[in-house]
């Protein structure tokens, strides 16, 4: 009998802790809904991006590192490294399909969960959401928003809140905000400034400032032409 009571209490607490997702109002006319384009700040081709990353926990800046990411949206392959300004590599890992390959990890970055979460965050920033597109429309403030539901039940909203700002929000199945990403396009590149707020056992904020971005291609003859082409691509993105 005690077990049943305990079960009811636990279920009640869990249900009470679930939160309501923001309402997305779909356009009244179905043609409008069909024509509504979801915000898509995501990579269109394989790219290499280097960011300066400032880490904040509990409101205090803890340190700064350099993050290198190579991401291929066509295969959802990610290769990533983080290192200090002095050039010491703290972590290097690759993820393709279901495989995770940790090439180098110094404690405390050697925890499997840390690397998995980091790769998930990278995919959330740079790749279109996977799963079912559930809704598209507008938030009460007028922002265009699209909502996907991932296979694991997570809900991902992509919101064009201002012309230069796109937000990505990831909620748990019961509506708890797990990640809030804000991409600010200040110099022609959607990844110029990225703010990622993570909520979990430890709340943290990463402020990422773009150092360099270029298509991840081999150096080819006619490098100068390629550079011009790349900078044009960056501007378009």
């Amino acid at each position: 009998m005690k077990c049943i009571h305990l079960f009811i209490v636990i279920v009640t607490v869990l249900l009470a802790s679930c939160q309501t997702l923001p309402v997305i109002n779909s356009p009244m006319i179905s043609a409008d809904q069909r024509n509504l384009a979801c915000p898509s700040p995501f990579l269109k081709e394989k790219y290499q991006l280097i960011h300066a990353i400032e880490i904040t926990t509990a409101g205090n800046v803890q340190g700064a590192i350099i993050g290198i990411t190579v991401a291929d949206p066509s295969t959802r392959f990610v290769s990533s490294a983080i290192m200090t300004a002095e050039g010491m590599v703290l972590l290097e890992a690759q993820s393709g399909g279901e495989k995770l390959n940790i090439l180098r990890a110094l404690p405390p970055f050697d925890s499997g969960d840390f690397v998995i979460n980091m790769i998930d965050d990278i995919k959330l920033i740079f790749f279109p959401p996977q799963g079912l597109l559930q809704q598209k429309g507008n938030l009460p403030d007028g922002s265009t928003a699209c909502r996907w539901q991932a296979q694991n039940g997570d809900v991902i909203d992509v919101i064009a809140s201002k012309p230069e700002i796109t937000e990505i929000k990831k909620y748990s199945a019961c509506g708890r905000l797990k990640r809030h990403i804000k991409l600010t396009q200040t110099a022609g590149n959607a990844y110029q400034s990225i703010e990622l707020q993570g909520s979990g056992i430890v709340n943290y904020t990463l402020l990422m400032t773009l150092i360099e971005a270029q298509p991840a291609e081999c150096e080819l003859p006619g490098k100068e032409k390629l550079k011009v082409k790349n900078s044009e691509k960056s501007r378009r993105r």
Partner: protein, 211 residues
Amino acid sequence: MRADKTLHRYCYVLVCSILLLSLPVSASADSFEQLRKDSANIKTIQARFVQKKFMKILTKPLISEGGFYYVAPDSFRWEYVKPLRSVVVAYKGDTRRYIVSGGKMIEDKTGGMQAMKIVLGEVTGWMSGKFDQNPSFAATLKEGINTQITLTPVGKSMSGMIEKIEITVSKKAAAVKSVKIIENANAYTQIDFTNVEINKGINGSVFQDVE
């Protein structure tokens, strides 16, 4: 936090290598004993540097730039101005690391400068040219167009972190040319020095004002 310790060991290697290798070496230096004699008169060193980080993941090296100041026996400033501004300063037995945040320099509290203090304990030895007497490294010296010193870590403290360090000293200019820190077959850091000045006056504020 092992990463902190490892970072400090790395900084230690970086700073010590640079101190060691920023020593002007006479054109005739052909032994560690000669290097020791050459280093006896070093009171200050200042230089600019360009650091190139080579990794398999990078299509081209990541380039950082900065400056380095040293005043005997134990004050130094190792500063990156780009792409990520950071400063390590040691002055009167106190070592701190700063990073830029919101346009201001703030102290990096995560680092804990214990290892940098160990560095300072070693600096005197390095500056005396006693780099072949550090039990952490095996040192070899090779003469050619340039003098090349190779330091290979001994023991496990650097294992998996640094394979070896190569220091190239220009005989012609009688000054250090570069330091190469090889982590493994796929990653190394090359630091090239320019504007190396020996025994030129350095204002004490360089070690106190990080802005």
